[in-house]
C-alpha cells in the first residue's frame, strides 16, 4: 500500500526536478524582494531621490489603496522585458485583491534594443483609464524625453505623477484598511468557532457510540487521543489567526490578504494579464 501511494509523488518529483533543471539552465533574472515602493538595483537614483519617490508612492497607497511600484534593474536578458514583467507581476501580486489596482513601472537600463528598456505593467483593474495606448504615451512622451538627457529622477517623477493622475480617473473603491483588517479578524474568529463546534460534535458522536455496551478495557485511551487531535487542530487554527492579523499590523501597507515578508511590504493579491506597454528612450 505505501509503495503505491508513493508512486505519483515519485513521478511528480521527477517532473519537478526536470523543470527546476530547465529553469536553472535558462538562468533568468531573479525577481527581487518587494522591499520598498522604489527598488533601485541599477543605481540610477541617489538615495535621497529614491526616498522622495518612495514617499510619494507610499502616500499614494495610503490615500487610495492602489499599489504602484517602480523597479529599476540593469537587465532582463535573456528574457524580453514583457516576459520578465509578467513574472514580477505574478510574484508580487500588487493591487488589492478583486480590485486589481496594481501598476509596475520597470526600467531595465542596459537592455539591448530588441528586449526594450521600459515597461508599464498594468493591473487588470486599472486598464479602463490606464489603457495600453496611455501607458505607451507615458513611456514615450513623459518618461523618455527626460531619460534621453540622463535625467532619471525627473523622468520617473513625471512618469509616476502621470500614472497616479490616470489612476485617479478610475473611480476605484476607496482605501479601507482599518475596516478590512477588522473584517479579516472577525472571519478568523468565525472560522475558529466553526472548527470547535464541528470537532465537538464529531468526537461527541464517536464517544457516545463507543460508550455503548461493549466490554472495552481502555475506553479512556480514545478520549485521550481525541483530546490530542482537537488540541492540535485548535492550536493550528489559533496560530493561523495570529499570523494573519500579525501580517496586517506589521505589514503596514499590505492590502487584501497579504502577509508580511521580512521588513518590506506585500502585494494585496491583485491580478495582471500582461496589459500595458513597452518602450525605449
Amino acid at each position: 500500500m505505501p509503495s503505491f501511494r508513493a508512486l505519483p509523488a515519485f513521478f511528480l518529483s521527477i517532473l519537478l526536478t526536470g523543470f527546476l533543471q530547465l529553469a536553472g539552465a535558462q538562468d533568468f533574472v531573479a525577481v527581487p524582494a518587494l522591499s520598498s515602493h522604489v527598488i533601485d538595483q541599477a543605481q540610477m537614483l541617489e538615495e535621497q531621490q529614491r526616498r522622495a519617490l518612495d514617499q510619494v508612492l507610499v502616500d499614494y497607497e495610503t490615500r487610495t489603496g492602489s499599489q504602484i511600484v517602480v523597479l529599476l534593474i540593469s537587465s532582463t536578458a535573456p528574457e524580453a522585458i514583457e516576459q520578465y514583467g509578467i513574472r514580477v507581476a505574478d510574484a508580487w501580486k500588487l493591487g488589492r485583491k478583486g480590485i486589481d489596482d496594481g501598476v509596475i513601472l520597470i526600467v531595465a537600463k542596459d537592455n539591448p534594443k530588441a528586449l526594450r528598456r521600459l515597461r508599464i505593467e498594468a493591473g487588470r483593474g486599472v486598464q479602463g483609464s490606464l489603457t495600453d495606448a496611455k501607458s505607451k504615451r507615458i513611456l514615450e512622451d513623459v518618461i523618455a524625453p527626460h531619460f534621453r538627457q540622463n535625467d532619471y529622477y525627473g523622468g520617473l517623477a513625471a512618469g509616476v505623477s502621470a500614472l497616479t493622475s490616470l489612476l485617479d480617473e478610475e473611480h476605484l473603491p476607496a482605501a479601507e484598511k482599518a475596516k478590512q483588517a477588522s473584517a479579516q479578524e472577525d472571519d478568523g474568529w468565525i472560522e475558529l468557532i466553526a472548527v470547535v463546534v464541528f470537532l465537538a460534535v464529531f468526537f461527541g458522536v464517536i464517544l457516545f457510540v463507543r460508550r455503548r455496551p461493549r466490554n472495552n478495557l481502555n475506553n479512556n485511551d480514545w478520549g485521550h487521543t481525541a483530546g490530542v487531535i482537537i488540541g492540535s487542530i485548535l492550536s493550528d487554527a489559533v496560530q493561523n489567526r495570529g499570523s494573519r492579523s500579525g501580517g496586517f499590523s506589521s505589514g503596514g501597507f499590505g492590502g487584501g490578504s497579504g502577509s508580511s515578508s521580512g521588513g518590506g511590504f506585500s502585494g494585496g493579491g491583485g491580478g495582471f494579464d500582461g496589459g500595458g506597454a513597452s518602450g525605449d528612450w
Partner: protein, 197 residues
C-alpha cells in the same frame, strides 16, 4: 490490538480515496477551462481591434490592397471559427483554432511591417494608439497562452500519472491538448508588431 487494526484500515481507505484524485480533477479541469476562456477572450480582443486598424491604414496606404485584404480575410476566418467547449478535448479542433489564429497573426505582422514605409501613417495619433493596443493585446495573448499551458500541464500530469489515471479513465477526463512549440514560433514572430519603439 484488533481495534487498532480496524482504525488503521479506515485511515488507509480514507487515504486511498483522497489519492484517487477525483476532487483534484474537478479543480484542475475548471482551472484549464478558466485559462482557456482567457485565451479566447484575448484573441477576441485582438479581432475587435482589427477593423479600426485596417481603416486607419487604408487612409494613408490605400494601395497596399493585398496586405489589407489578407488581414480582413484572416480575421473573418478566425472569428467565424466556432469555439465550442469540445475544442478543449478535441485535438483536431484545437489545432484548427491555432491555425486560424496563427494565420491572422502573420497577416497582421505583415501589415505592421508594411506600415513602416508610411511616415505619415506612423505619425498618426490614432494609428499609434491602435498600434500600442495591438501590441498590448499580443502580449496578453502570450500571457494567457502561457497560463493555459501551465494549467493544462498540471491537469495532464494528473490524468496520466498513476493511480489518478484510473480515475481519469472511469470518469472520462482525457488528456487535453496544449499549444505546441511549432505554433509558439509563429506567435513569437508576431511581435514584429513591436517595431522599434
Amino acid at each position: 490490538m484488533k481495534k487498532w487494526f480496524a482504525w488503521l484500515a479506515i485511515a488507509a481507505s480514507v487515504l486511498t480515496l483522497s489519492s484517487c484524485g477525483y476532487n483534484d480533477f474537478q479543480a484542475k479541469d475548471e482551472a484549464t477551462k478558466a485559462a482557456w476562456g482567457e485565451v479566447v477572450n484575448q484573441y477576441q480582443r485582438r479581432a475587435d481591434l482589427i477593423p479600426n486598424l485596417v481603416n486607419t491604414v487604408k487612409g494613408y496606404a490605400a494601395h497596399e490592397k493585398d496586405t489589407l485584404e489578407a488581414v480582413t480575410k484572416a480575421r473573418a476566418a478566425a472569428t467565424s471559427f466556432q469555439i465550442t467547449p469540445e475544442v478543449l478535448t478535441n485535438p483536431e479542433a484545437f489545432n484548427k483554432f491555432q491555425q486560424v489564429q496563427g494565420q491572422l497573426s502573420s497577416a497582421l505582422s505583415r501589415l505592421m511591417a508594411v506600415s513602416e514605409n508610411y511616415p505619415q501613417l506612423k505619425a498618426d495619433t490614432s494609428f499609434r494608439d491602435l498600434q500600442s493596443q495591438l501590441e498590448g493585446t499580443e502580449n496578453r495573448i502570450t500571457v494567457a497562452r502561457q497560463r493555459y499551458i501551465t494549467s493544462v500541464q498540471e491537469y495532464n500530469v494528473l490524468a496520466r500519472s498513476f493511480p489518478t489515471n484510473i480515475t481519469a479513465k472511469i470518469f472520462s477526463y482525457p488528456v487535453k491538448p496544449s499549444f505546441t512549440v511549432d505554433n509558439e514560433k509563429a506567435i513569437s514572430t508576431a511581435p514584429a508588431v513591436n517595431f522599434g519603439k
